[in-house]
């Protein structure tokens, strides 16, 4: 079977458009609630504030299937990563111990579309800090 370049392009644009319409039909507030619930469950009810926590991520990710992400929060007990625009917001939670050389971790994640990445760190004293960073995604991951 032969597919011309024009046909291939048309197909790609068509599927992206279909995906976008699908996502817009979902109520926006539902995702926000799930996000807030996930954060509250992680922090044990503590409202996260500002602090020494950073997310390292590319500004523009060409391939949403594998986006390199690093988080760092000196002194944290654990860090949770959330992707606000994915079908489910949870990405990963890292737990540190006395043998952790630094409270940081790197991994690769899937991003369905352009969105904000949120990191929440739980400190040993029970408080929590958070930060967010926006990543533009050219081709979304998570199948479709």
């Amino acid at each position: 079977m032969t597919v011309t370049r024009r046909e291939a392009l048309g197909l790609a644009v068509g599927s992206v458009a279909a995906l976008t319409t699908l996502r817009f039909t979902e109520p926006a507030f539902a995702a926000g609630d799930a996000l807030q619930d996930a954060i509250m469950e992680f922090t044990g009810g503590a409202q996260p504030g500002d602090g020494d926590i950073t997310i390292g991520a590319p500004e523009i990710a060409e391939n949403g299937n594998t986006v390199p992400i690093e988080v760092s929060a000196p002194g944290a007990a654990s860090i949770m990563l959330l992707a606000t625009g994915n079908p489910s917001p949870g990405v990963a939670t890292f737990h540190f111990s006395a043998l952790s050389g630094a409270q940081e971790a790197k991994t690769r994640i899937r991003l369905a579309k352009t969105q904000d990445i949120i990191a929440v760190a739980k400190m040993p004293d029970g408080s929590a800090i958070t930060t967010k960073r926006s990543v533009k995604v050219t081709i979304g991951g998570c199948g479709g």
């Binding site: 939670t93 890292f94 737990h95 111990s97 043998l99 952790s100 994640i109 991003l111 199948g143």
Partner: protein
Amino acid sequence: MAKVKPRVKVPKTASVNEVVTIKTLISHPMESGQRKDSKTGEAIPRKIINKFAASFNGEPVFMANMEPSVSANPYIEFQMRVPETGVVRFEWTDDDGSVYDLEKTITAA
């Protein structure tokens, strides 16, 4: 299914209390449960590695809980303090309950 193969990069030697970088990768499809079979239209069931843990001489070092948003062939990099000569043990837990493991020795001088 493709064979699951864990790989880690750990320095062979370190000075006492040196902080070393440990890189891990395991080949695994991390099927998210969101995809559909292109022929039948049925959802492909979720099958991911949901937990990764590293320990040193039995003491926990680093642990990660993973969700379907983690990429296929999950890569994790973290820092570890080396207090003495010992064995680093890595364990990956699959959704189906299987555990893939690997051990590496670090000699502290």
